[in-house]
């Protein structure tokens, strides 16, 4: 995007102008787009970068020079649309629409369905549109359950039963219940006779939408939502039983071998079936691994394997005791370039360790929390947590403004001096820490500098997440504070500041 290779961008429920690493680079790159679509339920920093970003204030960006066409679509919030939440514990929970979205706000689903329809209608005869012409796009306007059924999968050549239709809740869903749903992923075949969006969700419609059930039973809550795969609440539950198939602990038992029936049974959906009796060749608990055993030595898959090890962060003033000659992960992608630079290791300019994190009171890039008075008032300003020792070293006291800088840029924050932040003795020197929560931006009820301006765009080799927990930084007392003392705003109502254009247009209850 920064190099002008990207023509357009859809931003849905994200706020890269605040939340992405090297956020300044992101903001500067947005101006190279021909068009930008932002869908959110408040007008985010990403939607207004051209007008009120710090680069506009500093003169680096001139709104007159930005040709990007920006479309802001008001979006329905999670209570204003149906859909599913999937937790990291693998639990799918379907939720109903509680209230209608206000004004022109629409669900992301409806937007995508409409967008697909319009794109299909404009598909040309050119070869490059062949995929678009062949695309089946017969969704109803805003029916999340219909999409979940498609993800769950069906038999292409068999008609659905009335039970499916009733479970779906109406005859209008004919296009999607024309097919008999697969029971679970074991019915999926690679011969074109079945269709499935994602195999792990197969089984969520087993006669009814199990993700929508709220009738928990048993100690593992079966009947409340659906845990992929197959409503299995604990993965690798075979491990809860000894090799002979008896539970290790009666108190914590999960599954066990039933000799009489000749199959695995228990309080959870067992990993293994009757074909894998205890002691057999296929009695291997780690069913997602080819060899069925747990791995410390990871033969394949891990890009920086095969053994877990320790590398120093990409910026570090500390030597790697484990590997003196290879301090950093050689497989990490640094994406180093003039607008994404790194400090040297070690680097005298940046003697302290920077860590960024979140606060309970705010939600990631802040679009959902900085606009709500009840949350914004609880953490109203960006602060940097430093130890009393470091505060003494740079001669600042609690509450004073400090400037924090990395190789990428610098921001200002209030100093929160606390003994909770320890200083460490490492490598024969005293290592100080600077802690920064990253929720603030240039919009909303409470504002502050953007901490992600300090972070480099980097990729850890396996999950490709940027490094935010260990960077090299410097701090000093601010000479000039760009930030005026926060004025006491008029009280605002309990209503969200939806679609507010700025402080002036607060909606009153």
């Amino acid at each position: 995007m920064a190099d002008g290779k990207l023509e357009g961008l859809f931003v849905m429920g994200q706020n890269p102008a605040v939340g992405a690493p090297n956020a300044k680079l992101e903001r500067m790159a947005l101006r190279n787009l021909k068009w930008l679509v932002v869908r959110d339920y408040v007008e985010t920093e990403t939607a207004t970068f051209w007008r009120d970003s710090p680069e506009v204030a500093s003169g680096e960006l001139n709104p007159d020079d930005i040709a990007t066409e920006i479309f802001f679509f008001p979006a329905a919030s999670h209570v204003e649309k149906a859909g599913t939440f999937t937790n990291t514990q693998r639990l799918l929970q379907f939720r109903q629409k509680a209230i209608e979205p206000p004004g022109d706000a629409r669900s992301d689903l409806e937007f995508m369905v409409q967008l697909g329809r319009r794109m299909k209608a404009r598909a040309s005869d050119r070869p490059r549109d062949a995929g678009l012409r062949a695309l089946t796009w017969n969704y109803h306007d805003d029916d999340a359950e219909e999409v979940l059924r498609e993800i769950q999968g069906w038999h292409n050549d068999e008609r659905g039963t009335m039970k499916d239709e009733q479970a779906g809740g109406g005859a209008h869903r004919s296009s999607f219940i024309a097919h008999r749903l697969v029971k679970d992923f074991s019915e999926l075949k690679n011969d074109g006779s079945t269709t499935c969006g994602c195999w792990i969700y197969s089984g969520v419609f087993d006669g009814e939408n199990k993700a929508n059930k709220r009738e928990p039973r048993g100690r593992y809550g079966h009947g409340w939502g659906f845990a992929w795969p197959l409503d299995r609440r604990i993965l690798y539950n075979r491990c809860s039983a000894a090799p002979d198939g008896k539970p290790w602990s009666d108190r914590k038992k999960l599954v066990w071998w039933d000799d009489a029936k000749g199959e695995w049974t228990g309080d959870d959906v067992p990993d293994l079936t009757g074909e894998n009796p205890p002691g057999s060749k296929d009695d291997a608990p780690f069913i997602m691994h080819a060899d069925g055993v747990g791995w410390i030595w990871v033969a394949s898959g891990l890009k920086d394997g095969p053994l877990p090890t320790h590398y120093e962060p990409l910026e570090s003033n500390i030597a790697n005791t484990l590997y003196p000659r290879q301090a950093k992960n050689p497989a990490a992608d640094r994406k180093e370039r003039p607008d994404n630079p790194y400090a040297k290791s070690p680097d005298n300019r940046f003697p302290y360790v920077l860590t960024t994190y979140r606060l309970t009171e705010h939600h990631t890039a802040g679009g959902m929390s900085r606009t709500l008075s009840h949350l914004a008032e609880l953490q109203p300003e960006l602060f940097a947590e430093i130890s009393p020792e470091l505060a003494g070293e740079v001669e600042v006291t609690n509450g004073e403004w400090i400037t924090i800088s990395t190789a990428r840029g610098s921001i200002q924050a209030r100093a929160l001096v606390t003994s909770r932040v320890p200083s460490l003795d490492l490598d024969g020197r005293r290592v100080h820490h600077v802690g920064l929560p990253y929720h603030w931006g240039y919009r909303g009820l409470v504002r502050g500098d953007i901490v992600n301006d300090l972070i480099a765009i980097s990729e850890e080799p396996n999950v490709r997440i940027m490094e935010t927990k260990g960077l090299s930084c410097n701090i000093r007392k601010s000479d000039v504070t760009r930030h005026p003392e926060p004025r006491r705003r008029r009280r605002i109502s309990v209503e969200t500041l939806r679609f507010a254009q700025g402080d002036e247009v607060l909606r009153w209850r």
Binding site: L375, E377, L378, L416, P486, V494
Partner: protein, 260 residues
């Protein structure tokens, strides 16, 4: 109707402030201003007209057994504060309009349509809970979610608390639960755990009581809260003695003073 109460167990509080937000959301309490305090993660600072639940952030010297911290690291303890709903409530006794009443749940409730904003309750609360709203004049504090209780629901803060730190229930049952919890904590080695419920002071016990570690003063809980109206009897006695002395003095002046 059973007397209900809050038992706030600070050892279970994680400082999430969900109680503060749930209280404001349910009761439509306005914001408190957007000022950063620089005092730990506490930007609310105190209970007031627009804060009916307040999570205190107590940064302590290191103490063994606190949350598994290394011995040289300080501890960070949280405690959700609220109106104590005193057995002898200073605010209720001082209220000249009858706006402040004792409800059927034993709680102390300010009727906003009767309050005339005199502010007598503000100075008589021994915990500094009740507070007048500047732009409105009337006094506000925790309602103990009277509306929710009437409908058979627990108060919003207790409902929102994710760890069970704020327990709501019948007061006598809560007191027994607190005794059990203290015994459990003491048995587990947390010997500084203690119940704060000033039954021997002039407030005569509170319907919202707390489990804290160490000295309750660290949590801004006064060791001997005084309801000012308990001073009325000695005050009137002193006044009566003074008046009697003046009368006697006057009579003596007549009796003993000779005509000049």
């Amino acid at each position: 109707m059973a007397v209900t109460g809050f038992f706030t167990d600070s050892t279970l509080c994680i400082g999430c402030k969900a109680c503060e937000v749930a209280c404001k959301e349910w009761n439509e309490v306005p914001d408190d201003g957007f000022r950063w305090s620089g005092l730990s993660y506490d930007n609310t600072l105190a209970l007031g007209h627009a804060t009916w639940r307040h999570v205190k952030f107590v940064e302590h010297e290191a103490s063994i057994g606190a949350g598994g911290n290394a011995p040289d690291l300080m501890t960070w303890q949280f405690s959700s504060d609220v109106c104590k709903h005193c057995e002898n409530a200073g605010c209720l006794e001082a209220c000249p309009t009858g706006s402040i009443v004792r409800t059927e749940f034993g709680s102390v409730y300010v009727q906003p349509d009767i309050c005339n904003g005199c502010g007598y309750c503000v100075v008589t609360c021994p915990f500094g809970v009740i507070d007048r709203r500047d732009d409105d004049g009337r006094a506000f504090k925790c309602t103990f979610c009277y509306d929710r209780q009437k409908a058979g629901l627990e108060p919003a803060c207790a409902k929102a608390c994710p760890t069970g730190s704020i327990l709501f229930g019948n007061l006598d049952e809560l007191e027994r639960a607190a005794d059990r919890r203290i015994a459990q904590l003491h048995a587990a080695g947390m010997r500084d755990a203690t119940i704060y419920n000033p039954k021997n002071s002039s407030v005569g016990g509170t319907h919202a009581f707390f489990l804290v570690r160490g000295d309750p003063k660290n949590y801004n809980l006064p060791p001997d809260p005084v309801v000012p109206t308990t001073l009325l009897r000695p005050a009137w006695n002193a006044a009566a003695i003074g008046a009697a002395a003046m009368v006697v003095g006057s009579l003596l002046a007549f009796a003993l003073g000779g005509r000049k």
